[in-house]
Symmetry: C2
Subunit: 243 residues, 2 copies
């Protein structure tokens, strides 16, 4: 009997969607437990649900319980054999790709969406601009890194967990920055191609087709207002110079 | 001839001090290249110095070049043999300890020090309080996790890279939050003991004794003013409830 696998996170894309996608693509049957946004955070902090650090996401696999997004990514990569045959640098390459996509793109986007509505538009625009510059710089660097290799994915001929972090980072950037990301992707053809290729994979296409992706990006209580304000920022501010 | 090892980071503790300490403790001879704070960031972004993502820290080891703090931590752990004999959960345990100490303590402290001086005291105090609550909650959880094990370090009988992240997280918390951290450590006896034990290790004691640790915590241009403001906050605000 296969071991019980459970991923616990809020009902949004946020920190966990790359993990969900990688589990789906690897054919691992898992319970996708989604905590309602707005659920008492204190409860998670103090109950077993929040894992060893009182935080989400948490991945349970048989008797193992892993917390923190990047360690979960590494654990999953190991469990499905993606690190087999790789040396220290081969593993580090995948882990630094996942780290930059997660921390320097996904987390930066989340910070944009969490800017409180009480912050005046002018200050918000300054913050958006700083985040945008950092995000688009990393998209550019990820493309250069992928272009330096002959295989389609960072994982080689098959996507690794790191590839799912990159694609979610791109998709979340499109959802937040719209046309700005499209312009950046035209300068990043290898990333754009990799993203298309990944979306065509059977298990992923089926998962998306069945409408199983959460619709919220983050748990921000003012996500809709932030998205609208960022849209106004994109329409009026000049594109950032990220180089 | 041993391979050339170089760690490049700003002249502060910040994201890199746990890596420096772990290299020192493992007896790895390395060049500790320190970029002056205030140095043109654009230059790092565009030149080879900034590694594949135009960011620091960067660890060069022979022909390998690793970027991003947590992937550097994992690479170093592998190179010095700390993952040998560990299964996926054993590695994940070390990586989640390093991740929580780095992201939920060290990075949170850095955010406190980067709060601009223009932010009014009342708003700054709200931010400090939120950061403090998160930081002290994680210190408590790290202590519980260490207490659940019989060996003195997360790495077992010897410290692993993860232990150096925890100890730097504690020391930076003391430097920023002062007595608030001392009170938290009295409720965290295993962490306090581990920290003492680690400081007594020959190579670490010698390194500290020779005054080789940077004195700045971060690259924040207003670090001194922030430290003074946080001190006033600690003196006047009630301790946060983190449970």
């Amino acid at each position: 009997m296969p071991e019980r696998v459970l991923l616990r996170y809020f009902d949004c894309l946020g920190r966990a969607q790359p993990i969900r996608n990688a589990l789906v693509d690897a054919g691992v049957a898992f319970e996708d437990q989604r905590i309602t946004i707005g659920h008492s955070w204190r409860m998670l902090k103090e109950q077993a649900d929040g894992g060893p650090f009182g935080s989400l996401p948490v991945l349970e696999w048989g008797d193992d319980c892993v917390a923190q997004t990047l360690p979960i990514a590494g654990y999953l990569a190991r469990r499905v054999g993606q690190y087999e045959g790789l040396d220290a640098m081969g593993i580090a390459r995948l882990e630094m790709v996942a780290s930059v996509a997660y921390l320097d793109v996904i987390v930066e986007l989340a910070m944009m969406l969490w800017v409180p509505t009480a912050v005046p538009d002018s200050e918000a625009a300054t913050r958006f601009s700083n985040h945008e510059a950092r995000i688009l710089h990393k998209v550019d660097r990820l493309d250069r890194m992928l272009a330096s290799r002959s295989e389609p994915f960072f994982g080689g001929h098959r996507p690794a967990v790191a590839d799912f972090f990159v694609v979610e980072a791109i998709d979340m950037t499109r959802a937040v920055l719209g046309e700005r990301l499209d312009a950046a992707l035209r300068r990043a053809p290898r990333l754009a191609e990799m993203r298309e290729r990944l979306a065509r994979r059977d298990a992923i296409a089926r998962y998306v087709g069945e409408g199983k992706r959460p619709t919220r990006l983050t748990g921000s209580p003012n996500e809709a207002e932030s998205l609208a304000r960022i849209r106004r920022y994109v329409e009026t501010a000049n594109p950032v110079k990220f180089q």
